[in-house]
């Protein structure tokens, strides 16, 4: 069991990426190596499907992140195997088809097959995952792989736009899915699907959570399955090479949303939002997709919109399902895979052999490609639901179920029935158009000029799919055992057996009516040459999306320009104001709350005034104000150093002799440095500075900031002063200085012994500053022009003087 799973999922996941390298050696032929992966996966999954056994035995686990309780857990139940077989089975056909489609005109074959294999592995992982997080990881991986595949022909603008839309939409909705998963985990305490399916969801207090989770999960499904309002990405993703379109956008990836709905069905079907949410949106998208398909002229766009439509039906179908379960969902899905995959491949053959994609420029290919035309006829009939095909069976069941749903669902049922009828009619029309306008009628000159015969093996997969559509359509009993074996309890209820002929029932009559009406619509379209068929600008959601992205970009640019500040002069006030608000606000709050008053603090502090200190303080303050007040640099420097030296005196008065010593030294050196610096500046610099004054508003702001900072700092000091002294570590240090450090100077012992470390850090800081300064000075080499300018002076150390250089 584990081996089979490993072959099905692990092998393509691990080995697939190496195809990229192999492609360099093998070129085109690498496709045949890649072909082995889907074949092996199909075989492994068939083996798994053939194994009988209870559901619990269908779980395999490998440890992955045990500390988070995330295993690589897989659940191979009927639903997973059904989707898995569709993925790998279509994979076989698509890989085969791609081998003939991607001829020597294309480049990077290795990379293409690596992406395709990765995509298949991710798909299989998603449907087989038992752990919801694992499901999410694979889910996003499919999006990533599809992005790479859509963007494969990235030289084309359309390709890039399509790839970006697909990535953003599916990536974004995928994260919504993650949020939903986390919510489910929050309510149930487990990520394991089998446990969830066994125990169901709790009711009662968690209602709100579950509703939110349902919404998010369903949005994830809508994004992937291109449901309204996300439906626009799918047609644009058709810019990819056709095998990719056939694989990703009709048969498999977009079905993931449907798969998710099927997985969630047993959990959420009883929720009051389930039916309305899925059905209103699903059936609405169904009609919208059909209308858009009718109005399109591009071969692939027609098929893409019809896929949107069919996906809408499938999702709406799960929405209407009864609590006991649904019956024929597998049939609908299988039917869609057969005809849509086949038609995409036919479109691919047509494009491959003519280079034309617009249905209005095509025609008459039936004479050149009779086999393909036959397959096309069968598959178009399947799409239209003509008797004798799986499409007919599907439509019969569809109508039957919808008519049954009329009663229990009231308005919603009538809405659904109306949607299904309208869509069926439109579908007949564009199915007929697709077939007749490609294969019948006169052959336009463009086709004649460009046609080159496609290889026969390229036509084989659509032929096989057509044969299956007609075979199962005529002998539906062949399907029954397989579909019954894969039925899942909770999702399915026992189904009536399929039959070709149910008698002249209401459904049959309706079906006939639909065919007649559809033929009428087709006839009208042909007569008017489909001139009215144009997608109205109001429905161009892709344009809205791009416009939205553009607006978002402009918004962020505006925002960034508003918020960013490029110069210290513009952002220093901002930072200071923030800090002021933070600390000042808190101080004000504390003052207000504690009932203490600033005047009290002041009067308390006033008691300890020492007049000598007050005199010194006054002088320092005067000097500081002098720095602000005077204009000339030299005077300012003098004032500055007066303030510095007086501070030394203040330190002495504060019983801090060590500080005074250090301060004197530092003050002297700083003074020398600053004087040296100013001496290098020409007079003009100082004069130039005075001519430029900031605007008055700015000066006011600066003044306010300066006064507030000063006021805040004074207040803080007073606040500290007013508090009862806490027991200080420093006092202990002072008391122990002799005993522990055998030194009398407590500051020194603190520095060297107790804080020896800081001193090391300090010294290193000085070393670094020196290194930096030296680097700035020594490595300055002036240009000859600068030498000629002379007075800027010799930058000093290590640089030649102008005079020495020039004789």
């Amino acid at each position: 069991m584990k081996w089979a799973l490993f072959i099905a999922v692990g092998l393509p996941l691990l080995v697939g990426p190496w195809l990229g390298l192999l492609g360099r050696a093998l070129g085109r032929r690498v496709g045949w190596v890649a072909f082995a992966f889907p074949v092996l996966s199909t075989a492994a999954l068939l083996w798994l499907a053939a194994r009988p056994g209870p559901a619990a035995a269908r779980i395999s686990e490998w440890p992955w992140i045990p500390s988070l309780g995330i295993p690589l857990a897989f659940l191979a139940d009927g639903l997973a195997l059904f989707f898995g077989l569709i993925v790998s089975g279509m994979g076989v056909l698509v890989f085969w088809y791609a081998n003939f489609y991607l001829d020597a005109h294309y480049r990077h074959h290795g990379r293409f097959y690596a992406y395709l294999t990765l995509f298949m592995a991710a798909m299989l992982g998603t449907v087989l995952a038992n752990h919801l997080l694992l499901l999410f990881v694979f889910w996003e991986l499919t999006g990533l792989a599809s992005f790479l595949l859509i963007g494969f022909l990235h030289e084309e603008e359309a390709s890039r736009v399509g790839a970006r839309q697909a990535l953003l939409v599916t990536g974004f909705t995928g994260l919504l899915l993650l949020a939903g998963i986390l919510m489910v985990r929050q309510v149930t305490g487990t990520f394991a699907l089998d446990e969830l399916l066994r125990a169901g969801l709790p009711a009662g207090a968690h209602r709100g959570w579950l509703t939110a989770a349902l919404l998010l999960l369903v949005l994830g499904a809508f994004g992937k399955s291109a449901q309204f309002p996300f439906h626009f990405w799918l047609p644009n993703a058709m810019a990819a090479p056709t095998p990719v379109s056939a694989y990703l956008h009709s048969a498999t990836m977009v079905k993931l949303g449907v798969f998710l709905c099927a997985r969630l069905f047993p959990l959420f079907v009883a929720h009051e939002l389930w039916a309305p949410l899925l059905s209103w949106i699903g059936f609405g998208t169904m009609v919208l997709g059909a209308v858009l398909a009718l109005q399109s002229h591009d071969l692939k766009a027609i098929l893409a919109f019809s896929t949107v439509s069919q996906l809408g039906y499938l999702i709406g179908y799960y929405g209407l399902g009864a609590t006991a379960g649904v019956e024929h969902d597998y049939l609908h899905i299988l039917n869609h895979v057969l005809y849509k995959g086949g038609l995409f491949m036919i479109a691919g053959v047509v494009i491959h052999s003519t280079g034309l994609q617009d249905i209005r420029h095509l025609g008459g290919l039936g004479r050149r490609l009779p086999w393909l035309a036959g397959a096309g006829a069968v598959l178009a009939a399947t799409m239209a639901g003509v008797i004798g095909t799986t499409g007919f069976l599907s439509k019969e069941m569809m109508l039957k179920e919808i008519l049954e749903a009329l009663r229990p669902h009231g308005t919603l049922g009538s809405y659904a029935a109306g949607c299904v009828l309208v869509t069926s009619v439109i579908k007949v029309a564009f199915a007929a158009r697709f077939f007749t306008n490609v294969f019948l009628g006169p052959e336009p000159a463009a086709v004649k000029a460009r046609f080159h015969a496609p290889p026969l093996p390229l036509q084989l997969p659509p032929l096989l799919l057509a044969a299956a559509a007609i075979g199962f359509g005529v002998f539906p009993r062949w399907l029954d055992p397989a579909l019954d074996a894969l039925a899942v309890p909770g999702l399915h209820r026992p189904a009536d057996h399929l039959a070709l002929w149910h008698g002249v029932t209401l459904e049959f009559l309706t079906s006939l009516g639909v065919l007649v009406l559809g033929a009428g619509l087709y006839g009208f379209g042909q007569r008017t040459a489909w001139r009215w068929a144009r997608i109205s600008p109001a429905l161009r959601f892709d344009a809205f999306f791009e416009a939205g992205l553009g607006a978002f970009f402009r918004f962020t640019r505006g925002l960034t320009r508003t918020l960013q500040a490029d110069r210290p002069v513009s952002y220093l006030p901002v930072v200071l104001a923030f800090a002021l608000t933070l600390v000042g606000g808190w101080t004000a709050y504390a003052l207000f709350r504690s009932g203490e008053a600033l005047p009290g603090w002041v009067s308390e502090a006033a008691r300890g005034v020492d007049w000598l200190r007050a005199f010194a303080a006054g002088l320092i303050a005067l000097a500081a104000l002098g720095v602000v007040g005077v204009r000339r640099w030299t005077t300012q420097v003098i004032a500055l150093s007066v303030a510095g030296f007086l501070t030394t005196f203040y330190f002495v008065l504060h019983r801090a002799p060590d500080l005074a010593l250090t301060q004197i030294l530092v003050e002297v050196v700083t003074l020398i440095l600053v004087l040296l610096l100013l001496g290098r500046f020409p007079r003009s610099a100082e004069r130039g500075e005075r001519t430029w004054r900031p605007p008055p508003g700015r000066r006011l702001l600066n003044g306010v900031l300066a006064v507030s900072v000063g006021g805040l700092m004074s207040t803080l000091v007073l606040w500290v002063n007013a508090r009862p002294a806490a027991e200080r570590v420093g006092d202990r240090l002072a008391a122990q200085t002799v005993d522990l450090a055998e030194g009398t100077n407590a500051v020194n012992t603190t520095l060297v012994d107790f804080r020896g470390f800081d001193t090391l850090g300090e010294i290193t800081v000085l070393l670094i500053a020196t290194l930096g300064a030296l680097g700035l000075l020594m490595r300055y080499k002036r240009t000859p022009e600068e030498y000629r300018q002379g007075p800027l002076g010799a930058p000093g150390m290590g640089v030649h003087h102008p005079g020495e250089d020039r004789p």
Partner: protein
């Protein structure tokens, strides 16, 4: 004393490595000096290896309890060593951007590294201040290292002015804390605050300390310097700023919030959540219109500070563990981006993202590496960045049971993560789809750079797919905080 020195052996080794490089530069002939970068890298690598020989249990302290060697400290020391090692490789590739003084650059890297490693062990505000200054002052020099470049000099001035302001905040904060409580040791402070009722003054001090650390972290409202300085600084410095300097802020904030003032942190209400949200959105929205890679990384660094703050806001072991794991993934991804950028631009001043156009054809391996790094930063599964973001969101959701505000935080983190995908995607788009720009080919990639690229790519992938061991370390380290 000797015992103490043994405990800080790793830091001493790093400082001596730095001094050794400086001395060797004096004696070596000029032709052989370029090899010093490799020597530095090897020595740092050896120290990194040696650090794995150190047991986190039992916890050892030095210098009267100022310095503490526990699992958290060890985790960050290894992190810083790894970052410095990779930065040295980047600096070696960037050598054309420096006029001279390559050895000085590596020595300064070592000094900054020593400061970071000391910070990781800080148990005392004095050590916190000195370690932080050591880091900050070194960065003043590192930012303006390409001295011929006006942009670098300007960035140096800007960083210095704001850095000094931040240091001033820090000192004032520390002073107020001391005035209010009479102690600067974290453990003693925690003990005193529990029984301390009139702690409004302490809070004023802590707000100032928080502002000082907020600068390091580049968190709102002290984020404003980041884009400018990142853009002006040379590539290796920018990389080191966004990894090392930020992580220094992270570890110090962890120590202060959860070791020094746990009782106040527990009552801080939604403050951290609000800051996290604002920081994230400032970063992601600001990053979108950027055209310069370093400026983009500056905004991205702000956004990542916001993501990291989410883990702080949960105030849980889960959250802190997620922060540590996120950082581990972050270092590989960021260095991957900067390595590739350095290899492409080779010390040139320009870093317009548009000039990366056509890199996918010119140098597919480099393009793939850059894509990997950007994808991890964007949080694409199954890479390290995804798991990091997931763990953060998970921690927020788990914490939501007690504090429902965290649910909202988890939700907006998710939204911010989505927006973040958009601008990293812009980077990848330029690489693969951009107009062919610039020179036809990228120069040869040296062996050391290749090794670093492989190591980073392996880190980004490995942490995402097999996160077990690193996650184990991260959680062990987080548990040490006793949340």
């Amino acid at each position: 004393m000797v015992n103490d020195l043994a405990v800080i052996g790793l830091e001493l080794a790093v400082v001596f490595a730095g001094l050794g490089v400086l001395l060797a530069d004096l004696w070596l002939p000029a032709a052989r000096r370029p090899h010093l970068a490799l020597v530095t890298a090897w020595v740092l690598g050896l120290i990194l290896l040696a650090s794995f020989g150190i047991e986190a249990e039992p916890v050892r302290t030095a210098f009267g309890g100022m310095y503490r060697l526990d699992a958290l400290a060890l985790f960050f020391k290894r992190f810083f060593l790894l970052a410095a090692l990779l930065v040295t490789v980047v600096a070696r590739e960037f050598r054309e951007g420096f006029e001279a003084g390559h050895a000085e650059y590596h020595a300064l890297t070592c000094f900054a590294l020593a400061g970071m490693m000391l910070a990781a062990s800080a148990q005392h505000f004095a050590l916190l201040f000195v370690a932080l200054e050591l880091v900050t002052v070194t960065f003043y020099v590192l930012v303006s290292f390409p001295r011929r470049r006006v942009t670098a000099l300007e960035a140096g001035v800007k960083y210095l002015i704001l850095g000094a302001l931040a240091s001033a905040f820090l000192v004032f904060g520390i002073a107020l804390v001391y005035a209010a409580t009479g102690t600067l040791a974290f453990e003693a402070l925690a003990g005193r605050l529990e029984t301390f009722t009139g702690n409004r003054l302490v809070l004023a001090g802590l707000l100032l300390v928080g502002a000082g650390l907020g600068f390091k972290l580049a968190a709102v409202p002290f984020q404003i310097w980041a884009p400018d300085v990142y853009q002006g600084a040379p590539f290796p410095t920018t990389a080191f700023l966004s990894v090392g300097s930020k992580a220094t802020g992270v570890v110090l904030l962890l120590r202060v919030l959860f070791e020094a003032v746990p009782s106040l942190t527990a009552r801080s209400g939604p403050l951290l959540s609000v800051l996290a949200g604002l920081t994230m959105f400032y970063g992601v929205l600001g990053a979108i219109p950027q055209r310069s890679l370093r400026r983009l990384m500056g905004y991205s660094s702000i956004a990542n500070a916001g993501f990291l703050l989410v883990g702080f806001a949960t105030r849980s072991t889960e959250g802190v563990g997620a922060v540590l794991f996120y950082l581990a993934g972050y270092v590989f991804a960021v260095l991957l981006v900067f390595l590739v950028a350095t290899l492409v631009w080779r010390g040139a001043e320009a870093d317009e993202i548009a000039t990366l156009g056509g890199l996918g054809r010119r140098a597919p391996a480099l393009a793939a590496s850059l894509t990997l790094g950007a994808a991890s930063l964007a949080g694409i599964p199954p890479l390290a960045g995804f798991l990091g973001k997931f763990l953060l969101i998970r921690a927020a959701v788990l914490g939501g049971a007690e504090n429902p505000a965290l649910y909202w935080l988890a939700a907006i983190t998710l939204v911010a993560a989505v927006v973040a995908i958009y601008y990293y995607f812009g980077l990848v788009r330029a690489v693969y789809w951009g107009e062919e720009a610039g020179s036809a080919s990228v120069g040869p990639v040296s062996r050391s750079a290749r090794a670093a690229l492989v190591a980073c790519a392996a880190g980004v992938l490995g942490l995402g797919v097999f996160p077990g061991p690193v996650l184990g370390w991260a959680r062990l380290a987080a548990r040490g905080l006793g949340l």
